[in-house]
C-alpha cells in the first residue's frame, strides 16, 4: 500500500514536471552539458520558443 502511494506520488510529480517543462529544461541542460543559470534558461526558452508559440490550447 505504502509502495503504491509512493509510486503514485512519484508518477504525479514526474507528470507535473513534464507538463510544466521542468523535465524539458533538465534534458536541455544534459544535452548542453551545462548547469542551470539565467543564460542557460534564456537559451532554453529561445530554443523552445518556436514550438511554444505554435502550441494551441484547447477549448
Amino acid at each position: 500500500m505504502r509502495d503504491s502511494v509512493s509510486r503514485f506520488g512519484r508518477l504525479l510529480l514526474a507528470a507535473l514536471r513534464e507538463i510544466f517543462e521542468e523535465s524539458a529544461y533538465e534534458r536541455f541542460l544534459k544535452r548542453r552539458g551545462c548547469g542551470s543559470s539565467r543564460e542557460a534558461y534564456a537559451a532554453f526558452l529561445h530554443e523552445t520558443q518556436h514550438a511554444r508559440e505554435r502550441r494551441a490550447r484547447c477549448c
Binding site: L11, L12, A14, A15, L16, R17, E18, I19, F20, E21, E22, A24, Y25, E26, R27, F28, K30, R31, S36, S37, R38, A40, Y41, A42, F44, L45, E47, T48, Q49, A51, R52, E53, R54, R55, A56, R57, C58, C59
Partner: protein, 685 residues
C-alpha cells in the same frame, strides 16, 4: 485474476452502469442524487475503454508493439522524447481540457440534465474518444504530422486547404465566443474584474522570477503565482467594498470587450516568456487543481440535482439559446462529447512523446474520457441549483425582462419558482450586486461550484470566495486560450501571406507581427463586439456558431481517419469512424440549416435580420438595427461557408473511398517506414 472473477467484476460494472443510467433516464418528478450521474459515467467509460477501445486497438488500428514510434526514432531530447505513458496522459489531458466542457453542459442544462448527460457519455465513448485515439495513432505513424498535413497527403489538396480554413475559422469564432463568456462574467463585477486584472502583473512577475531569480523552477513559480492569485481574490473582496476602487473596477460589457481586444493584441505581440508562458503555467496549475477539487467536492457532498431530467424547453423555446434538442444539444456540448479541436492536440505535441504504439489507446481514448467526466461534473454543478436560479442567471433581459421583479415573474410562470428576494440573497452571498442576465455559462457554473464547495469546505461564510475563485479559474483559462489562440492564428495567417509576399511569412519581422496580430484580433474582436451588443446576449447566436465550427472540424478529422482506415485495407471496420462522422454531418448540417433558414427569428439568422429590418421604420436607433441585421447576415454567411467547405472535403473523401474500394485507385497510406523498436528488444532481452 481468474477468468470467472473477471467476468463477475465486469458483470457488476455493467449492472451498476445500467442501473444508474436507468435511474437518471426514467426517474421523474423527484430530485435525484448527483452520484447516479457519476456512477453512470464511470461505468460507461470503464466498459467503453475495456471493450470498445480494445476492439479498436486490435481489429481496426492493429496497434503494433514492435513498431518504433517517432519519439524513439527521432529522439532529440527536445521535440521528440520517449516518455512514460502516464506522463504523456497527464500532458495530453492538460492540453485538451479547457473551458468548453465546463460551459457547454451548463448551457445545455436548460433542456434538463438528461439530454446533455446522455450525449456526453455516448458521444465520448463512441465519438470523441475514438477521434482522439485514431488521430493520435495516425499522427504517430506519420512522424507526428499535423491534421492539415495528413488531410493534404491522405485525401488531397482540397482536403488540406479545407482543413486549414476550418482551423483558422474555428480559432477566430472560438476566441470571439470565449471572450464573450469572460465579458459576461465580469461585467459590473468589481471583485471579479480586479482579480482577473491582477493575473496580468502576476504572470509578468512570474515570467521575471522564472527568468532572473529561479531559472527553470516552473512548479515553484506556479505555486508562488497561485498564492498571489488567492491573495488577489481576497483583495478583490476589499476592492468591491471600497467606494472609489469599486467604481474603478465596475466596468460595462463594451468597456471590458475593448480591454480584452487590446489585451489580445498586446499578448500576441509581447515576448512569449514574459506573459504567455507564465500565464499558461499558472492556468494549468489552477485548472488541474480545481478539477480535482471539484471531483472531490462532488463525491464528498453528493449533492441533489434540483433541475428536472427534462424541462419544458426541449421544444426549442429555451431562454438560454433557442432550438430543440436535435440538433442543438449536440452542438452546444462539443468538448466533453466530441471536439474537433482535440484533433489538433492529438496531432501536435502528444504524438512526439508516445514511446510505444499501444500507449496511444490510453493516452488518446483515456484522456478524452477524463475530459468527458469534467463535462459531467459541469452538468452536476449547473443542476444542483434551483432551476429558477439557473434561468435567472442565464436568461437575457430581452427574454425575461429588465427588472428583477419582471424576470422572476416570467421565470416563475414557466414553472420554475424564484423570487427577487432569493436572487438578491444569493447575489449578496457571492459578493455580487446582481446575478440576473449573466449569460454565457461561466457565472452559473461558478454559483453551482461555489454551492458544492461551500457545503464541503468552509460553509456559506466563504461562498463568495469560492464563487470568485471559480470565476477567476474560468477567466484565467479563457484568457490563456486567447493569448495562445491569437498567436497560433497569427502564425497561420503569416504562413498563408508568406506565399503571396515572402517578408510577411517571417515570424520575427515586426511589421508582419503587428499586421497579422491585428488581422486575427480584428476578426475575433468583431464577433466579440457583435455578441456584446446583441440584445439577446450574444451567446444565443455565437455559441451555436462555435459548436458548428468545432463539430465541422471533427468532421474533417473523421474524414481523414476513415480515409486512412480504408487505405489500410480495414474497410469492414470503417464504421468505427464512419458512424460518428455520419452523426456529426447530420447534426451540423441540420443545425446550420436551422441557424441560416429557420423562420423563427430566435433561431434563424436571416429571419432575425428580416425582423430587425422590419422594426427600423419605428425605431429611434435605425442605424443600430441595421448593424444587427448586417451581423445576422454575416453569421449566416460564415455558417454557409463552413458547410460548403466541409461538403468539399466530404465529396473529395467519398470519391476517394469509392475509387479505392472499386479498385480504380491503389490504396497506399503515407506512413513512415516500419522500424523495429528497441524497447521491445530490451523487454525481451
Amino acid at each position: 485474476m481468474p477468468k470467472l472473477s473477471r467476468i463477475l467484476i465486469w458483470c457488476g460494472v455493467v449492472g451498476a452502469g445500467v442501473l444508474s443510467l436507468a435511474t437518471i433516464a426514467l426517474r421523474r418528478g423527484e430530485p435525484i442524487n448527483a452520484m447516479w450521474l457519476v456512477v453512470a459515467a464511470v461505468c460507461t467509460y470503464a466498459v467503453g475503454y475495456r471493450f470498445y477501445s480494445k476492439f479498436l486497438a486490435a481489429k481496426v488500428l492493429v496497434l503494433d508493439p514492435t513498431r518504433a514510434t517517432p519519439a524513439e526514432r527521432l529522439d532529440n531530447g527536445r521535440d521528440f522524447v520517449p516518455t512514460n505513458k502516464w506522463i504523456v496522459f497527464g500532458h495530453h489531458f492538460a492540453a485538451i481540457a479547457g473551458p468548453g466542457p465546463l460551459v457547454g453542459p451548463v448551457l445545455a442544462a436548460q433542456f434538463g440534465y438528461l439530454p446533455g448527460t446522455l450525449w456526453v457519455l455516448a458521444g465520448a465513448v463512441l465519438g470523441g474518444c475514438v477521434q482522439d485515439f485514431v488521430i493520435l495513432l495516425f499522427s504517430v505513424r506519420r512522424d507526428g504530422k499535423s491534421l492539415t498535413e495528413m488531410a493534404r497527403e491522405e485525401i488531397g489538396p482540397v482536403g488540406g486547404f479545407v482543413a486549414y480554413l476550418a482551423v483558422v475559422s474555428i480559432i477566430v469564432i472560438l476566441l470571439g465566443v470565449i471572450a464573450l463568456v469572460v465579458v459576461n462574467a465580469l461585467k459590473s463585477s468589481p471583485w471579479g474584474t480586479f482579480t482577473i486584472a491582477m493575473t496580468i502583473p502576476i504572470a509578468l512577475l512570474m515570467g521575471l522570477y522564472l527568468r532572473r531569480i529561479r531559472p527553470g523552477k516552473v512548479l515553484e513559480t506556479s505555486l508562488l503565482g497561485f498564492v498571489l492569485v488567492v491573495l488577489a481574490i481576497l483583495g478583490g473582496q476589499w476592492v468591491s467594498q471600497h467606494a472609489m476602487l469599486a467604481n474603478w473596477f465596475t466596468l460595462t460589457a463594451p468597456t471590458l470587450a475593448i480591454l480584452i481586444i487590446v489585451y489580445g493584441f498586446a499578448a500576441s505581440a509581447l515576448p512569449v516568456w514574459l506573459l504567455l508562458a507564465p500565464r499558461d503555467y499558472l492556468s494549468t496549475f489552477v485548472k488541474l487543481g480545481t478539477i480535482a477539487l471539484l471531483a472531490i467536492g462532488i463525491v464528498l457532498v453528493r449533492p441533489t440535482l434540483h433541475m428536472p431530467a427534462l424541462t419544458r424547453f426541449v421544444d426549442g423555446t429555451g431562454p438560454v439559446f433557442a432550438g430543440s434538442i436535435f440538433p442543438f444539444a449536440f452542438i452546444t456540448i462539443a468538448c466533453g462529447a466530441i471536439s474537433g479541436f482535440h484533433s489538433l492536440i492529438s496531432s501536435g505535441t502528444t504524438p512526439k512523446l508516445v514511446s510505444r504504439e499501444p500507449e496511444t489507446r490510453m493516452v488518446g481514448y483515456g484522456a478524452m474520457m477524463a475530459e468527458s467526466l469534467v463535462a459531467v461534473m459541469a452538468m452536476i454543478a449547473a443542476c444542483v441549483m434551483q432551476p429558477g436560479v439557473y434561468f435567472s442567471i442565464n436568461s437575457p433581459t430581452a427574454i425575461v425582462g429588465a427588472t428583477a421583479d419582471a424576470a422572476t415573474a416570467t421565470i416563475s410562470s414557466w414553472g420554475f419558482p424564484v423570487t427577487a428576494g432569493d436572487m438578491a440573497t444569493l447575489a449578496s452571498a457571492v459578493g455580487e450586486k446582481t446575478l440576473f442576465n449573466r449569460t454565457g455559462g461561466a457565472p452559473a457554473f461558478a454559483v453551482g461550484m461555489a454551492q458544492i464547495f461551500a457545503h464541503s469546505l468552509g460553509g456559506q461564510a466563504v461562498m463568495a470566495i469560492w464563487y470568485h475563485f471559480a470565476i477567476m479559474f474560468e477567466a484565467l483559462f479563457i484568457l490563456t486560450i486567447l493569448d495562445a489562440g491569437t498567436r497560433v492564428g497569427r502564425f497561420m495567417v503569416q504562413d498563408a501571406l508568406g506565399h503571396i509576399w515572402k517578408p510577411m511569412g517571417r515570424t520575427s519581422w515586426y511589421p508582419s507581427i503587428l499586421f497579422t496580430s491585428g488581422v486575427i484580433v480584428a476578426m475575433w474582436g468583431y464577433f466579440l463586439w457583435q455578441g456584446v451588443k446583441d440584445p439577446l446576449g450574444g451567446i444565443n447566436s455565437l455559441w451555436p456558431l462555435f459548436g458548428i465550427s468545432n463539430q465541422l472540424l471533427a468532421t474533417v478529422a473523421l474524414c481523414v481517419a476513415t480515409t486512412i482506415i480504408i487505405k489500410m485495407g480495414r474497410a469492414r471496420y470503417a464504421f468505427a469512424t464512419l458512424v460518428p462522422l455520419v452523426w456529426l454531418v447530420s447534426v451540423t448540417f441540420t443545425a446550420s440549416y436551422h441557424k441560416i433558414f429557420n423562420t423563427n427569428p430566435r433561431i434563424g439568422f436571416l429571419a432575425h435580420a428580416q425582423q430587425t429590418l422590419g422594426q427600423m421604420a419605428t425605431s429611434p436607433k435605425p442605424q443600430e438595427l441595421a448593424r444587427i441585421a448586417f451581423n445576422d447576415r454575416l453569421d449566416a454567411a460564415v455558417t454557409g461557408v463552413l458547410v460548403v467547405l466541409v461538403l468539399l472535403i466530404l465529396t473529395e473523401s467519398l470519391l476517394d473511398w469509392v475509387r479505392i474500394l472499386s479498385g480504380r485507385r491503389e490504396a497506399r497510406v503515407k506512413e513512415s517506414p516500419f522500424v523495429m523498436t528497441n524497447f521491445a528488444a530490451e523487454e525481451q532481452g
